[in-house]
């Protein structure tokens, strides 16, 4: 019995060994074939296209220190409304591109330091002939005016909303629109002679005034963009005029008395009788 068992065990082992050898040889041959095929393909590729050199990836260190920005001091503004405009338009939107930033700041500085006004379209100019204590005759005019700061503020915010609605995202287009709006508002001021004296601007017509103002105020801006800012058929210009006319109707007027008669209103010699009386 033991011999039989021994013979059977040995034979089984032999059969298993033979089977294993068979499969091993099959597997080895298959691998060989695959490798050959890959090599052939590689060689074909090598002939066709040059070898692509992989760039080494560069790892930068994170800048964790505070970034320094060159901003103008807000405390130099003499008017809080202008200060708000600077905060909301330049700082909040992060528009620190160099020609735009300084030119806009200079303009805001000029507007803030002078009490400029726009004539209310609904007002009537009434001239008053008065006598002073020495019985000297003098002429004064009283009318309703709008503060230019407030008009400019509401126009700029309205313009930004309008541009968002029309999906104009290009930063330069928006900046040009802002500059053209503020120059349009300046050209509508009631004291243009005073502005031109202060800035050293000369103009012949009312229409050429905006060109002269742009030449003076936006000195460092390129000529192409300057032309864009003043153009009447500029994409945003129609919306600017529309917003301007809307704002003038809503704005609260101030009742003011001037010394002298138009167009020789004496600069800054007016008295606020009723502050924002409406």
């Amino acid at each position: 019995m033991q011999l039989w068992l021994y013979i059977i065990g040995v034979s089984v082992l032999v059969v298993l060994f033979i089977v294993w050898i068979f499969f091993y040889t099959m597997e080895a041959s298959r691998k060989k074939r695959e490798l050959l095929a890959v090599k052939v393909e590689d060689e074909k590729d090598r002939i066709k296209a040059p070898k692509i050199i992989k760039k080494q990836e560069i790892y930068y260190q994170l800048n964790t220190h505070a970034i320094r920005l060159n901003l103008y001091p807000k405390s130099h503004f003499k008017n809080y409304i202008v200060e708000e405009i600077y905060q909301k338009i330049v700082i909040d939107n992060y528009w620190l591109e160099e020609p735009f930033h300084t030119e806009f700041y200079k303009m805001l500085q000029f507007i803030g330091s002078n009490k400029l006004w726009i004539k209310d379209p609904k007002t009537r100019e009434i001239i008053i002939n008065t006598r002073d204590n020495n019985d000297k005759l003098s002429k004064k005019t009283s009318m309703n005016v709008l503060a230019l700061n407030e008009v400019l503020e509401s126009i700029l915010y309205g313009l930004l909303l309008d541009l968002k609605r029309r999906k104009i995202v290009n930063k330069k287009d928006i900046q040009n629109a802002i500059l053209s709006a503020s120059i349009y508002v300046l050209s509508k001021s009631g004291e243009i002679d005073f502005i031109c004296q202060n800035l050293g601007v000369t103009y012949s017509d009312r229409e050429s005034l905006r060109y002269a103002l742009v030449d003076k105020i936006c000195e460092n801006i390129l000529l192409e963009t300057k032309n864009k800012i003043v153009k009447d058929d500029f994409l945003n210009f129609t919306s600017i005029t529309k917003i301007y006319n809307e704002v003038l109707l809503i704005q609260i007027n101030i009742h003011i008395l001037f010394l002298g008669i138009s167009p020789l209103y004496q600069q800054l010699n007016y008295y606020h009788i009723h502050q924002k009386n409406n």
Binding site: R124, I126, I128, N129, T130, N133, K140, I273, H274
Partner: protein, 155 residues
Amino acid sequence: MLDQQITKTIPSNVSLIEIPVIRNKKICFIRAKEKVAEEKRSYLRSILIIIGDELITTNFADTVVLLAEIQKFERGNKQNFYTSVERHDGDVNLKLKLTEGHIYISTVEALAIINMYKLSLQGVSLTRIIEEELMLTAEMIAGYLNENKMLNKKG
């Protein structure tokens, strides 16, 4: 400068009322009337003349001078401060100079102005108008114009 410091507001018992005289040429009086409740009387304190967009007189004395010039009409002098006589095609007109342009007043209109002035003196006491005239400064008048919405365009 000094006249600002004297009075800046119109006293509460004085009311300024606009009286249209000739509507075609926008000639109006502005009458300052003081009401005293204790005495049950009202006093005239001042009369002004407004033509179009210009207040021509802001004193009672000036108003009287202008009205006298209108009353005398063509018999007026060359020294006339406000008016001058103009003859055209046999018509005699009174030319009233304004800061912007001028208006012409005919004889009938002059009569109407004088009649209206006489009517405006009725029912009020004139005792305070000469010595205690309300001296209206430009600030007070401007404030009055604003309160009555006369600075807004009509129509």
